[in-house]
């Protein structure tokens, strides 16, 4: 029997006296959301295949506090942040990778003031580095070669942290036909979920934000909408369903696209 995928926890690593090179911060959506769990799994498969010495916190992980802070509850945010920092510092974590732009932004930008200083990388940048180093190779372009793909910028990755090129370079490795939406990069339109909108009904208006954005994505004629954020993933998938296009248009995370094109 061949080896199985490894998902070591920090606790296990510590017990064995080992230290991982990088901590994979899975995030709540990556842990619980049925759709995003597939992204987590895809990313872990890539980490395994490339041979990255990583670990996760497993049951010790907890919400970063991002939704609480964006909703105005800074008490709850700081309770979460400071508790998380205690766990992270307890394990002497130096480097963190995460597939969630909200976790990424919070840990990278908002934890340092509270005593949590780490090198934080979003999985788009991480994958880009692996591709540039030749550690991830898409053989013959994979199944997305020549397909029309459009990338939706997550606000917390793009405008919030100016990461526009990394996810696009990852997509470029697929040798696909990359098309931009009318509003992209710094002018990209939000999916509608940020600022804790994910956790409540929208205010009265004439349209849902995710529908507006989905229409723009569909207008490109792409058969794949690529995203790099769990909330965007939900909003755009819902939008595509609303437009009854789910048979023709798929919403994938960039890690899934890489994993799929490698047959993982």
């Amino acid at each position: 029997m061949s080896d199985t995928y490894k998902v070591p926890t920090m606790a296990e690593m510590m017990a064995e006296g080992k230290e991982p090179e990088i901590l994979f911060w899975v995030g709540c959506a990556g842990s619980f959301d049925d759709r995003y769990k597939a992204v987590t799994i895809a990313f872990v498969k890539i980490l395994n295949t490339v041979g990255i010495n990583f670990a996760v916190l497993g049951p010790e992980e907890s919400c970063t506090g991002d939704p609480a802070r964006r909703a105005g509850n800074d008490f709850l945010f700081q309770m979460q942040a400071i508790s998380n920092i205690q766990v992270l510092n307890g394990y002497n974590i130096k480097k963190i990778v995460t597939a969630c732009p909200h976790c990424f932004n919070t840990i990278k930008n908002e934890y340092p003031e509270l005593g949590g200083r780490y090198e934080v990388i979003h999985h788009s940048t991480f994958l880009q580095q692996l591709i540039n180093e030749g550690r991830v190779k898409v053989k013959g372009g994979g199944e997305f070669k020549g397909k029309r793909i459009t990338f939706h910028d997550s606000c917390y990755l793009g405008r919030a942290n100016k990461i526009y090129e990394a996810p696009r370079e990852v997509l470029a490795a697929l040798d696909a036909d990359l098309v931009e939406m009318k509003r992209s990069r710094a002018h990209g339109l939000c999916c509608g979920a940020g600022g804790s909108q994910m956790f409540k009904e929208a205010e009265p208006g004439k349209k849902e934000v995710n529908i507006e954005r989905t229409e723009e994505a569909l207008a490109t004629g792409a058969s794949v909408i690529a995203s790099a954020c769990p909330f965007c993933m939900t909003m755009l998938s819902d939008g595509v369903k609303n437009k009854e296009k789910e048979a023709q248009v798929k919403v994938y995370d960039i890690a899934e696209l890489i994993a799929k094109s490698q047959g993982l």
């Binding site: 061949s2 080896d3 199985t4 995928y5 998902v7 926890t9 709540c28 842990s31 619980f32 872990v44 498969k45 395994n48 295949t49 996760v56 497993g58 049951p59 992980e61 907890s62 939704p67 609480a68 964006r70 909703a71 105005g72 509850n73 800074d74 008490f75 709850l76 700081q78 309770m79 979460q80 400071i82 932004n105 930008n109 908002e110 003031e113 405008r159 919030a160 942290n161 100016k162 710094a186 002018h187 339109l189 939000c190 509608g192 979920a193 600022g195 956790f199 409540k200 929208a202 205010e203 009265p204 208006g205 004439k206 349209k207 849902e208 934000v209 529908i211 507006e212 954005r213 047959g263």
Partner: protein, 459 residues
């Protein structure tokens, strides 16, 4: 006779200096109603941002055509103001075109440049008026942009048109008088000029007296107009012409996604978790906490005095162009939120409080507040914190910062948030995730994966 006009000129100059200074002092005081915040770090980076964004108008060029037209007015404003210097000297000394003899042949060239820009400003202002009032651009038709804000914009454009017309016709009538060699006009040989020469035929049938009367009228109209306009600007949305510079200098330097920390909360949380707080207090977790920790102020912002001075400077710097609102996902989809309205409301409230304080009134204690009286909770709740408004602002105003401060007040002081947010809060508290899942299930996603062989391909 000249003495009278010199005295009148001197009085007008003093009056404009007085009213302008008085108003600027008031605005300064109003901005200082905000809480202190240190933004004196990284001066070189700040100068660079100011040079790029304010002086270089970098962000305007997201819309190249409008940026070009705006640039014409901007350059016109900067360069034609050199001519104001001569006009002021002439007014005070009773001279006529004082600089002409000193500059010689360069003088008509200089006036030609001014006229070139004046025509540019004139044409652009007409286009801008058409865009606002005839083409009715969506950006200028929002519900927050009615009555005064709309009139304000039109007053500014019409004033600029009138000032440019006065300047050009003054030059034209003056040139005719010079050619005819009437009185002291004969001593100045400067005209005709680049553009106003084409207006000269308009005046050629006029008598000398009528011409002199018009030349004086245009001269006085122009300079008094400039004086009045400079005071008017301080009461209008047009203040961005000055405030764009300090406002971009004091821009937020941190990544846009980083929210301002609340150190007061950090101390409380650390105490609750039994960690040493700042300043380090050696207390055991079970030590009872003081009833009211010495004056911690309000959590978040209910009114303008809970905001920082930078938020208030942002409000005064806003010229209501609406690029923020145009980019706002909530506004695009018909929600009530408009980042421009957030800025306009903030300024209206600061002005209201300032006016009251000036008259010895109750100021902030007038029973009103920025939240509820001006900005509704529905607007605040609609924000996705996407930073599109911050990105769009040509003078680096940050409406999101104000929205978050007001949300903090809603969540922490008022404890009034939508029920589903309340549920999300308690999920985070109890289940360590915004959804109601058992924390012990957090790692379940890996169960199946750990049994999947690496070379076995798809599950």
């Amino acid at each position: 006779m000249t003495y009278i006009s010199q005295i009148l000129f001197f009085i007008s100059l003093l009056a404009v200096i007085y009213f302008f200074t008085k108003r600027i002092t008031r605005i300064r005081k109003n901005i200082q109603l905000g809480k202190p915040e240190d933004r004196s770090d990284n001066p070189s980076e700040r100068f660079k941002i100011m040079a790029m964004v304010a002086l270089g108008q970098k962000k305007m060029f997201d819309k190249p055509l409008v940026a070009f037209m705006h640039l014409v007015i901007y350059l016109g404003f900067l360069i034609i103001n050199i001519e104001i210097l001569e006009i002021v000297f002439d007014g005070l000394l009773g001279t006529h075109r004082l600089f002409a003899p000193f500059l010689g042949t360069f003088y008509p060239i200089l006036i030609g440049i001014f006229e070139f820009l004046a025509v540019g400003v004139l044409v652009t202002c007409i286009i801008f008026l058409v865009r606002r009032n005839i083409l009715k651009l969506k950006r200028f038709q929002a519900y927050e942009l009615t009555k005064w804000p709309r009139t304000d914009a039109n007053i500014i454009l019409i004033t600029e048109i009138l000032l440019m017309l006065a300047f050009l016709t003054w030059n034209a009538s003056d040139s005719v008088l010079q050619q005819r060699g009437v009185g002291h006009y004969a001593n100045v040989n400067a005209g005709p000029f680049l553009f106003s020469q084409f207006l000269m035929p308009l005046f050629e049938g006029w008598s000398d007296t009528a011409l002199i009367a018009y030349e004086r009228f245009a001269w006085w109209f122009h300079i008094l107009g400039v004086f009045a306009f400079s005071v008017y600007v301080t009461y209008s949305k047009h203040l961005h012409i000055f405030l764009a510079f300090p406002n971009t200098y004091f821009s937020k330097l941190a990544p846009k996604g980083k929210f301002q920390n609340m150190p007061v909360v950090t101390n409380e949380v650390k105490m609750m978790l039994g960690l040493p707080a700042e300043p380090a207090i050696e207390t055991a977790p079970e030590t009872p906490q003081p009833e009211t920790p010495a004056e911690i102020g309000r959590f978040g912002a209910k009114d303008i005095n809970d905001l920082t001075w930078k938020h208030l400077m942002d409000a005064y710097s806003c010229t209501e162009c609406g690029r923020c609102t145009e980019a706002c996902p909530a506004n695009i989809t018909g929600k009530k939120l408009s980042p421009r309205k957030i800025m306009m409301d903030t300024r209206d409230r600061v002005e209201e409080v300032g006016r009251s304080l000036e008259k010895g009134g109750p100021g902030i204690e007038d029973g009103k507040s920025l939240i509820d009286t001006y900005i509704s909770r529905e607007e605040l709740l609609a924000c996705t914190t996407c930073n599109a408004c911050v990105q769009a602002c040509p003078v680096n105003i940050n409406p999101l910062d104000i929205i978050i401060e007001l949300r903090r007040y809603m969540a922490m002081e008022d404890a009034k948030v939508p029920g589903s947010w309340g549920a999300m809060f308690s999920n985070i508290e109890n289940n360590m995730a915004p959804w109601k899942f058992s924390p012990s299930d957090r790692f379940n996603w890996a169960d199946k994966l750990k049994e999947t062989p690496v070379n076995g391909n798809k599950e």
